[in-house]
């Protein structure tokens, strides 16, 4: 069973050949971690999954990415619908300068949900889903920017959950956070995998080993190895993967 199928995906930024023929099956309701040294293409690959690379000038993409069997680069695709279905959490928390409530309700409003009661319900469910409800339930109307970094990141996860995605992409979601906040988000991710398909880019191999079900190792725009996390970390097949995991380079 697969949620996302990537076939022979190439991506060029002008002269730069950033992704070189990626083939990958991402399984539903699992956490898939993408690891590799900086500039290896893991973040670029993640962004092709909800077409966040589209706006970069000079970008050219070939190959296909199928989401539930539909080609997301097909000519009839509505990118806004795609991004609603494939949500994204960014490297540094980026709440809007609005209240906590309005941040979570933002996605609902732009997708046409106006009923107050329904909105209240979804906001609460999303904040609970992101394990931040207890911390903010008494101050939903206060500015989101007053929260701590870790809280802001969980708020951004709640904001993503509110539009009921099926896939959640996370681009190094804890790299800007302290260890305690990181732990909270890691716990949350395992919880999320029960309902959602999670793809996470991380620099932190321990994190990948702790939380993910599958791991893919990227190097210089190629996907070198992709397997169950336990397998990859216990007995990698490719020497380059082994070198990276054992810290011999990168």
């Amino acid at each position: 069973m697969t949620k996302i199928t990537t076939e022979n995906l190439h991506l060029h930024y002008g002269e730069n050949h950033a992704l070189r023929g990626i083939n990958m099956l991402i399984r539903p309701n699992k956490i898939t971690a993408l690891i590799g040294p900086s500039g290896c293409g893991k973040s670029t690959y993640l962004k092709t999954l909800n077409r966040m690379n589209d706006t970069v000038p000079g970008v050219a993409i070939t190959g296909s990415v199928l989401l539930d069997g539909e080609d997301i680069y097909g000519s009839t695709v509505d990118v806004t619908k795609l991004r609603k279905k494939v949500g994204m959490v960014f490297q540094s928390p980026n709440p809007f300068p609005m209240s906590i409530y309005d941040n979570v309700a933002y996605g609902l409003k732009i997708h046409g949900i106006k009923k107050r009661l329904l909105m209240d319900e979804i906001v609460e469910r999303s904040l609970r889903g992101a394990a931040i409800w207890d911390e903010v339930k008494d101050r939903l109307k206060t500015p989101a920017l007053a929260l701590s970094g870790g809280q802001q990141q969980r708020l951004c996860i709640a904001r993503t959950l509110a539009v009921s995605p099926e896939v959640i992409l996370m681009d190094e979601p804890t790299s800007a956070l302290d260890p305690i906040s990181t732990m909270k988000i890691e716990e949350l991710m395992s919880e999320l995998a029960k309902q959602y398909t999670v793809v996470i880019v991380t620099h932190n191999m321990q994190q990948a080993a702790r939380i993910s079900d599958y791991t893919a190792f990227f190097l210089l725009g190629e996907m070198i190895e992709y397997d169950e996390t336990q397998q990859i970390f216990a007995s990698p097949k490719d020497p380059r993967t082994e070198n990276y995991i054992t810290g011999r380079f990168g």
């Binding site: 706006t55 806004t80 795609l82 949500g87 960014f90 980026n94 809007f96 300068p97 732009i110």
Partner: protein, 289 residues
């Protein structure tokens, strides 16, 4: 001892330069303050309630500037109604839509050019194009349309700066939630740039209030009567603004008292607008922190 590091004497050349700089600076600012004090001392007493709230009455021989105050208000209102959407829209286009570097450069160059064209040229152009070619006559409407072009560079530039200051992460956040481009602009970009847009409006009002040469040619040079008829009839009739009225009294008729009264009023408005820009700037800075 020539090699010692003690001794506080300054080089004589330095002292001379400090003196010159101090002198010029003192002269410029003393002059500015003197102007302000002079205008207020000569003009404030002329600003009676009757002067501000009546039309001139040649029969009983009283003066009043209410008509030109109303004309000024009309022109400000109309100009902003035209110029703010176009200017902000232009800034959004440059910042968010335009892909060709060349087109952006052309737009920015023409915007610069517009801000360098003197008002009398705008007056000539406005007269030929709006008054004659579009047959709008010498009217408040022609005045507002001409001023729209004149304030466009200010609005575009100020709005562009405000848009640039909105973090990319906000745009990404909105796009990541499935917001379309226009939705993102409407819900995230414009609300976050509102401080800059208000600054643009205030700066434009300053330019409109102070404008005279262009308006003399396109909107008319007198304000004897209160505007009559419907709104549309009113904006299609000619009339002078406060600044043009000042010129008419002080230069054409040699009534300097009235001139200084209007000058004092204009100065109050200008000081108010400058303070407003400062205050908005402070609020934006505080918001950013």
């Amino acid at each position: 001892m020539s090699n010692s590091i003690t001794g506080k004497r300054k080089r004589p050349g330095d002292i001379l330069l400090y003196g010159v700089i101090g002198l010029f600076t003192a002269a410029v600012f003393a002059m500015t303050v003197y102007f302000v004090v002079y205008i207020f001392s000569k003009g404030l007493r002329g600003l009676s309630l009757a002067f501000l709230t009546t039309a001139p009455n040649p029969i009983i021989g009283t003066l009043g500037i209410l008509p030109s105050i109303i004309n000024t208000a009309y022109i400000i209102l109309l100009t902003l109604v035209f110029a703010v959407p176009i200017g902000v829209g232009g800034a959004v286009y440059i910042n968010e839509y335009a892909k060709s570097r060349k087109l952006i450069r052309v737009i920015e160059f023409t915007t610069e050019t517009l801000s360098g064209i003197p008002s009398i040229i705008f007056g000539v152009f406005g007269n030929v194009f709006f008054c004659v070619f579009l047959n709008l006559k010498v009217s408040l409407l022609s005045g507002a349309l001409t001023l729209t072009i004149m304030v466009l560079p200010t609005i575009i530039r100020t709005a562009q700066e405000a848009l640039k200051a909105v973090p990319v992460s906000y745009r990404e956040g909105a796009a990541g939630l499935g917001a379309s481009k226009w939705t993102m602009i409407r819900t995230i970009l414009l609300p976050n740039a509102s401080g800059g847009i208000i600054t643009a409006v205030v700066l434009s009002v300053g330019r409109i209030v102070g404008e005279s040469a262009a308006l003399l040619l396109v909107a008319g040079g007198s304000a004897m009567y209160l505007p009559r008829g419907s709104f549309f009839q009113q904006i299609q009739s000619s009339g002078s603004t406060l600044a043009v009225e000042l010129y008419r009294y002080a230069y054409s008729r040699g009534e300097n008292e009235v001139g200084f009264a209007i000058a004092a009023l204009l100065l109050i408005i200008v000081i108010g607008l400058n303070l407003a820009v400062k205050l908005i700037g402070k609020r934006i800075n505080r918001g950013a922190k």
